[in-house]
Symmetry: D2
């Protein structure tokens, strides 16, 4: 198999890690805490971040030159999610995964 370039593989890895963190925390963490963590707007943002990371990874895996578009969106949405998770607190794993993913996506989109 013709492998992915190392920077692209690293970006796919971060996207799939952020996807797992955002989606997994919804039912395993946020809904158990309740309050602001279970607000519709917070869960919408977590689900949106998870899906955008998943789709960005898929476009890179397909090998499409359109990945730059998805990576730009992904970087912006991850930064938004990191900021919101920082604000409500007790979401450190998500803040970290989103920031790492945003950084990698920004480089891929350049």
């Amino acid at each position: 198999m013709d492998r992915f370039a190392p920077e692209m593989q690293a970006c796919i890895d971060e996207c799939l890690r952020c996807y797992q963190t955002c989606l997994g925390m919804i039912t395993n963490h946020c809904l158990r805490l309740g309050g602001a963590h279970a607000a519709p707007e917070h869960i919408q943002l977590m689900l949106t971040c998870a899906e955008t990371c998943r789709a960005s990874a898929q476009i890179m895996i397909i090998g499409s030159p359109h990945h730059k578009r998805l990576c730009t969106d992904c970087a912006d949405i991850c930064e938004n999610c990191a900021a919101e998770c920082k604000r409500i607190g007790n979401m450190d794993d998500c803040v970290q995964a989103c920031r790492r993913c945003a950084e990698r996506c920004r480089k891929m989109a350049a």
Copy 2:
């Protein structure tokens, strides 16, 4: 259930229709025709268009305000796919589905 606004439901419908057309034609049509229809670049574009439509629909269904970003990407990628399918010919269903989806996504992103 609180239903989607009519324009959003129409956009979700077109995204899911275009997703079905692009993904379904890969194995049921393009790979059977062979030649330019089975070129890696053409299949990459069809898979990318299908995934972007699928993800845009998902972000609208989630109810996230970030849908405008995905809809803009989706409109651009659908227009690219329609133009490429028009160019290689014998892809009328895909050209039509992509154009309709692009038009709806453009309105949602406005």
Copy 3:
């Protein structure tokens, strides 16, 4: 394009409708109601039903003979989701979408 058989198209349609209903109701309905509707186990079931419907539709669209396996799972999970939504109440749209999808998937899997 070689079109899908009518029974398969009908099953794809119900899967995509049930996917939209389950995923859309999470943030637009369940989390707004709170209580049992926002319990982690309920949201896990809604998310699982949405993803299984989405994946079943995709395997049918790809044109794979493996769709019978996914349709069987989808029918079982939809029936489980319909029963649970009936039990907690105020989930009529979801009960109806899940039952219709289960019925169609059961026929496709036969």
Copy 4:
């Protein structure tokens, strides 16, 4: 965040690895080789295996007890894909990823 059990995380990892291998090889390898590697039935199987792995990972990440159903399907489809890829040859990365994923999914489904 409440982390996944180690065996579940290992299964999610193998599912996402197999998904990447199957999806990535379609346009980066199979369609470039042509012949039996570009046959509609082979690409259908690769796309089906990729989507089933992706969906199985998602159901585990959601934390649903229904993951056993999807993991059973995933194990069967991966074994089918490994056997077919072994038969047509020059698909070693896919054979290996499918076998590892099948083994992990079989354990999770037990």
